[in-house]
């Protein structure tokens, strides 16, 4: 049970994020929801490669043979960088929306539908 705790945490993060995306009307909160999903996925990747009592996978002067799996860490690093880019872009769109509409309430930002 205790071993599965990280996976449960990921699931909770992802579900919280999806809830925020679906029910919140504030554009900033939608971005936060997206980031929650992303953190959940990143945590999931890291958990996959984790091994208790192991060291970082650097062979030079390694204290012992047991190491955590490096691939998921590399994947997570890439994913974090991509997440940063998407968040920056999406927040800049939010700024532009605020400039044009003077609001960040999604229910009022709907000129396209008219």
């Amino acid at each position: 049970m205790i071993d599965n705790l990280p996976f449960i945490a990921c699931a909770i993060l992802v579900i919280l994020g999806l809830y925020t995306l679906t029910f919140k009307r504030n554009l900033i909160k939608i971005v936060i929801g997206l980031n929650l999903v992303e953190s959940g996925v990143n945590l999931f990747l890291i958990t996959l490669g984790y091994k208790s009592n192991a060291v970082a996978p650097i062979y030079t002067m390694a204290a012992k043979e047991e190491m955590v799996l490096p691939t998921p860490q590399a994947l997570t690093l890439t994913s974090i960088v991509i997440g940063l880019a998407t968040t920056a872009l999406i927040l800049s769109f939010t700024i532009l929306i605020y400039k044009h509409y003077k609001t960040i309430d999604a229910s009022k930002v709907r000129r396209l539908r008219e």
Binding site: V14, L21, L27, I30, L34, V37, E38, V41, F44, L45, L48, T71, P72, L75, T78, S79, I82, A85, T86, L89, I90, F93, T94, L96, I97, K99, H100, Y101, V109, R110, R111, L112
Partner: protein, 514 residues
Amino acid sequence: MINEHLPALVIGLPLLAAFATPLVSKINDKLRNIFVIGILGITLYLVYSLLCNVLNDGIFVYVMGARSTGLTLPSGYKMPVRIILEADAMSVFMAITTAVISLIGAIYSWAFMDKETGKDKFYTLLLILTAGMFGMELTGDMFNFFVFLEITSIAACGLVGFRITRGESSEAAFKTMVLYTLGALFVLFAVGILYGEYDALNIATLASRIQYTMLDKIALGLLLTGLAMKAGAVPMHMWVPDAYAEAPAPVSLVLVVNTQAGLYGLFRVLFSLYGASLSTQTVGWILIILGVLSMFVGVTMALIQDKLKRLIAYGAVSQIGYMLLGVGVGLATLNTPALQEYGMRAMEGSIFHVINDAMYKGLLFLTAGAVIYCTGKRNLNEISGLAHDMKFTSIFFIIGAGAIAGLPPFNGFASKLIIYESVYKFNPMLSVIAILVSILTLAIFVKIFQSAFLGPKLLDVKKEPRSMVLAMLVLSIIVIAFGLFPDVVVDKIVSPAVNALINRMDYITAVLGG
């Protein structure tokens, strides 16, 4: 020498050129345009050589950073450790579509974007988007696929929101970005699940180990949702009309192939990664239902639109449905004798429809762009009698509209006919729906033509510039040529692509060896 490195060059050249574009821009605007068009022209040539190479010698495997480029399993490894690009007939089929469309997009942009500011950024993003699509189509690695998916998402959203002076653009870009990112995160989650289970990221290695356990089903659900979101299938289509309508016309054109790259990812996952291990009936029917819904919802929503590009965008949603329908039928008949009888044919129709759709829908978006460029109006109620001044655009619009509605002798007819015939043998009802949707599409486009191009002259209209006419002309020629000689296209590139999807073992052995 060059032949050895083709897949890497196809991705690398536009990517490097993208970051060189702002520098070239500093010298001269005209030089920059020539530079971008030249790079995309060279890329098209490279993709064409890759196409010939793959069609003659089979699957092209390229290992990034290995001592020799074909060395997938160096010195006794049981599984590939490097990033592998794997180009089979399906990948190069998509890549050639992408290359042609982005070249035409760049030619069209020359005049269309002339009055805008920030053109260096526009061309940079356009090239990055192109490189990202090539990456999605040529990669043989799930995580790599995710990275390229995100590259296209970021570049595409930057282009959708390019006109920052319009609030609507930012609104559309925000919406698109949220859905793209969410879809990509679903894909990443699925990649994580598959990696956790099978300890591999390479598609061929994963395919050789996949068991279709409960976790695999969850991963499949996530991949299906994420990639269908990218492809803009109903019920995840909310972003499509906004993005297509707000993006500058050449970007709408490239976005069409971008959605198709998402669709390609879906087909790759279903056929090459899961393949026969799937419960093909169930998943095939899911695709068919998604397809029918997309066709129907797309066309009914198009009926009530009064903005030209929004209307075409809903038409685009309904055309995605045809591709899902045919491939769904192919998947449902996989592993049964019916595959040879009509399943293959249905898939041929669908895959053929992919390239046709890119051409005629691109043409329609370009004509819509020309209308907006020359009149400054987006609403159909405000334009009338354009045929008086925009003779070329009217003719191109007729060609595009005829093709999207599936009239002979245009290419839409050729592929839709194959879909109708083969799907009829699977389930007559589906075929009837498909024909009904085509008739509704025809009605919609006749209505637009009548209200926008015919009738009294209301507005003072500029003439369409030469580069825009050239771009539309090239697309029209392709539309008519594919409509007149469908057999040649189907035999040369479509049928190898379908075979590449179905013969999953070839895809696996190309990497893992016999």
